[in-house]
């Protein structure tokens, strides 16, 4: 409750939250505002914004850019959140095992994590998506697969920090079991930075997805912002609106998530934030 109240007083965090809510609402009500599929060719190709009833103009096939942007919010949010969760699950599991047990397991897992960090994430993502062919699932798993190392390292650091904390050792001395200690004492105390980083991972995941779609490696059945920019790139001379608006949508959403995440960080991790502000 304190955290909620503190967050409400956090100006940039609140701006982020409000904008994010607008994006979420847009995603939810897209089918109501735009009952026609965003793939439907509703006007002449390259209709400029404002003409023919198309607020943000029409694309190469005469599809409504505004509808695309609205439906794109669903894709971006779903992929962003799902892949961040995938990254969190992978990262927290690896980081927790590594941090709690230490020793050789830690060594092996951390070398693996470093390896994943060494390979450029985006190139790896391209490779994975191309290898397993783009679909909603492969994209989510891929983004999760290239985004987990920071979460693993964070979790490991938190576990290392907490594992030797006196209250954890006290729990050990009190006869509590390993699982109980991990789930009951370490994880709850490590969770807030993990949540913060996960929320920021949503933002990078959205950026990654858009870059993949831009390169033509998106799910061809989903109207996503990156796909729209990719489609608009070649016609930038004919129809600037095709790439400008979805790009703004990405920018605003990612910005909002980052603001929200940082606000969350300030509220949940006063330890870190005090050091920073």
């Amino acid at each position: 409750m304190d955290a909620v109240r503190a967050f409400l007083r956090h100006p940039s965090g609140m701006v982020g939250l409000v904008v994010l809510l607008i994006v979420v609402i847009t995603a939810i009500i897209a089918p109501i505002v735009f009952p026609v599929s965003p793939w439907e060719m509703v006007s002449a190709p390259f209709t400029p914004p404002g003409e023919d009833g198309l607020l943000l103009g029409g694309d190469t096939l005469g599809r409504d850019v505004a509808a695309g942007v609205a439906y794109g919010a669903r894709v971006s949010l779903v992929i962003g959140i799902a892949s961040a969760i995938a990254a969190m699950v992978i990262g927290v599991t690896i980081g927790a095992i590594s941090g709690y047990f230490g020793g050789k397991i830690d060594l092996v897992l951390m070398r693996m994590t470093e390896l994943f960090q060494t390979i450029p994430a985006f190139v790896l993502a391209i490779l994975l998506v191309a290898t397993f062919n783009p679909s909603l699932l492969t994209i989510i798993l891929t983004i999760g697969a290239v985004s987990w190392p920071p979460l693993a390292r964070l979790t490991r650091a938190e576990f290392l920090r907490l594992r030797n904390r006196e209250f954890v050792e006290a729990a050990l001395c009190q006869g509590e079991g390993t699982l109980r200690i991990v789930l009951g004492h370490i994880l709850p105390n490590a969770i807030s930075p993990i949540l913060v980083v996960t929320s920021l991972t949503v933002a990078t995941a959205i950026l990654l997805e858009s870059a993949l779609s831009f390169m033509g490696l998106g799910d061809p059945n989903l109207m996503s912002w990156g796909f729209m920019i990719g489609a608009g790139r070649t016609v930038i001379r004919n129809a600037w609106w095709m790439s400008v608006f979805p790009g703004l949508a990405i920018l605003i959403t990612v910005l909002a998530i980052n603001l929200f995440g940082e606000g969350l960080s300030d509220v949940l991790n006063p330890r870190v934030s005090r050091r920073r502000s």
């Binding site: 209250f167 006290a170 050990l172 006869g175 509590e176 004492h185």
Partner: protein, 562 residues
């Protein structure tokens, strides 16, 4: 102005100084109406518990207060200047020129990325006009190093702070402070982070320099022992207000205020309580045989790991009902010993015999069962409680893990809370609602919930203010009697060891250098190292502490400053 007159003019005077805290703090002023003087060649101690505002005053002197905090009224005069009224240039001349300052933690007070020689040169170059030549500066730095008793100045000059020991770092800080022959030295808890022997050397150095140069020293400390050793005058602070001030003799021998009395009383004293000896049954309860532990810190790939020997064949016996103090300076391996007994740190070799079994051979459930009888209280009461667990749960969890029903465990927990001096309602609160002393009581309650036979107290009172420390020690003493606990009391503070322990073990670099009954060790130390430690206890002679010196008919060691 002749020297005699000059001697009377204070180098520092605070007049009705009030420092305002930002709104929303726990009190409106950090410091209220504080007045005192520091004359040349005089050591004035500002003494008080944490939060008393003593550091604020020190920072106000050099106008180093954080932006949000400002002098509200009153004034500080340093070398006839009011730092708040100076322009930037003049303020810079004052800082490090007429008045220099040293801080509590010498490692963090030195720039970690700059050679220490350079850091001192900088001090000289920024103040002396005309700017001296490089050779002159270098010469001066060498001189300073020699003056503060640093060996091999040529090598040291090129060193980085991390390559020096704590004492060396503080000497570097002092050398830096002395660089421009200041009239006033402000030392903010300069020895708190240091071992007792180092502390004595540093205090002695400050005192020597003070006498050499006739400078005024404002020394901030929480330790009445230090006050007794070095101060000419003392100012006692509480909640930002002066409780009492005067000469050391006046204040320490004849305190006027109850609070001062309380603080002085709280300084640990050895109680040679013969009764305790009788409670010790000769049966040994816990036996440690030849424990070895070496920590290896990995460096590079091909570099050999750095080795730190924490235990080098430690053997000891703890008898039933006995309190054994393990003392030693930092790095002596005393905490590792406690942790090894608790099986929190795995020893490399040796045995820990308890209840007829070797704890080192136990795994899994057997270990869990054995642990029940051994409990530990840690140093940091803030880190020892899970911030997300209610106090009642924290205490009840242990018994519950061994099969006690929740209701019963909570009932016990509440009783224990009352026993350690807290209210029953504390059970439903979270740790952050409690002060350090209260938390440590909770930790003790938690440790006792399992009805252990051995309690290890690992620096259990070190993090507490002196008055709170005394209360917690008293509580431990009571509980020990009541529950027939055997206790291993790990501490760096010999005064505390003397106060609570039946027997003392002195550790140095993982080896036991001396072992014996408390009275024997303190009155007739066998090892030179033990003697050094004892000599270094601050305020020893003043408080007649630990009390054995006169009892043994010895002449108290001379005060450092006369």
């Amino acid at each position: 102005m002749n020297e005699a007159m000059q001697a009377k003019v204070p180098v520092l005077s605070a007049e009705n100084l009030s420092i305002a805290l930002p709104e929303g703090g726990d009190r409106p002023f950090a410091v209220e109406n504080v007045s005192f003087d520091v004359k040349p060649n005089e050591v004035v101690c500002l003494v008080g518990e944490s939060g008393s505002g003593k550091s604020m005053i020190a920072h106000a002197v050099l106008s180093l207060l954080p932006k949000s905090i400002a002098v509200a009224s009153g004034a500080v005069t340093v070398a006839r200047q009011n730092p708040t009224k100076l322009d930037r240039r003049a303020l810079r001349r004052l800082r490090g020129g007429e008045a220099a300052m040293i801080f509590q933690e010498p490692l963090s007070s030195l720039n970690p990325l700059k050679r220490v020689g350079k850091q001192i040169e900088e001090m000289i170059l920024s103040h002396q006009r005309p700017t001296p030549s490089a050779a002159e500066v270098h010469e001066r730095v060498q001189q300073l190093f020699t003056q503060v008793g640093l060996p091999n100045p040529k090598l040291l000059e090129k060193s980085y702070p991390f390559e020096l020991s704590g004492g060396q770092r503080q000497r570097v800080m002092i050398a830096m402070a002395m660089a421009n022959r200041p009239a006033l030295l402000i030392a903010d808890e300069p020895t708190t982070a240091l071992d007792v022997t180092t502390q004595r050397q540093i205090l002695r150095l400050i005192d020597d320099l003070r006498r050499d140069r006739g400078m005024g020293v404002l020394l901030i400390t929480h330790d009445f022992g230090v006050v007794a050793d070095v101060a000419d005058r003392v100012v006692v602070l509480r909640h930002g207000k002066v409780v009492e001030q005067g000469t050391v003799e006046e204040v320490l021998r004849h305190p006027k205020e109850a609070y001062t009395r309380e603080l002085i009383d709280a300084v640990p004293k050895a109680r040679l309580d013969d009764v305790r000896h009788k409670t010790i049954r000769p049966e040994s309860l816990l036996e440690v045989v030849g424990l070895h532990k070496t920590f290896r810190v990995k460096r590079g790939w091909l570099q050999p790991p750095r080795e730190v020997v924490a235990a080098d064949g430690i053997s000891l016996t703890l008898h039933e009902g006995e309190t054994l103090a393990v003392v030693g300076e930092s790095g002596s391996g005393k905490s590792t010993l406690g942790r090894m007994i608790m099986r929190l740190t795995e020893p490399d070799g040796g045995a820990i015999r308890f209840n007829g079994q070797d704890l080192r051979q136990l795994r899994g459930e057997a270990l869990r069962q054995a642990r029940k009888q051994l409990q530990i209280v840690f140093q940091d009461p803030f880190a020892s409680l899970d911030p997300r667990q209610k106090v009642g749960d924290a205490i009840a969890r242990g018994p519950m893990a061994y099969g006690t029903s929740r209701a019963e465990a909570m009932e016990q927990a509440k009783k224990l809370l009352v026993r350690v001096g807290l209210n029953v309602v504390a059970a439903d609160r979270y740790p952050h609602e409690f002060s350090g002393g209260q938390r440590q009581r909770i930790c003790i309650a938690r440790a006792l919930a399992l009805k252990p036979r051995v309690l290890i107290a690992d620096e259990a009172v070190s993090a507490l203010d002196v008055s709170v420390q005394a209360q917690v020690l008293a509580l431990l003493a009571e509980l020990r009697q009541e529950m027939k606990l055997a206790m291993i009391f790990i501490t760096h503070d010999l005064r505390i060891a003397a106060e609570i322990a039946d027997r003392v073990i002195v550790l140095r670099k993982g080896r036991i250098v001396e072992e014996g009954a408390t009275a024997d060790v303190f009155t007739a130390p066998q090892a030179a190292y033990t003697r050094d430690l004892l000599d270094a206890i601050p305020g020893r002679d003043f408080f007649d502490q630990p009390g054995f010196a006169s009892a043994a008919g010895k002449i108290p060691t001379a005060r450092m400053s006369s």
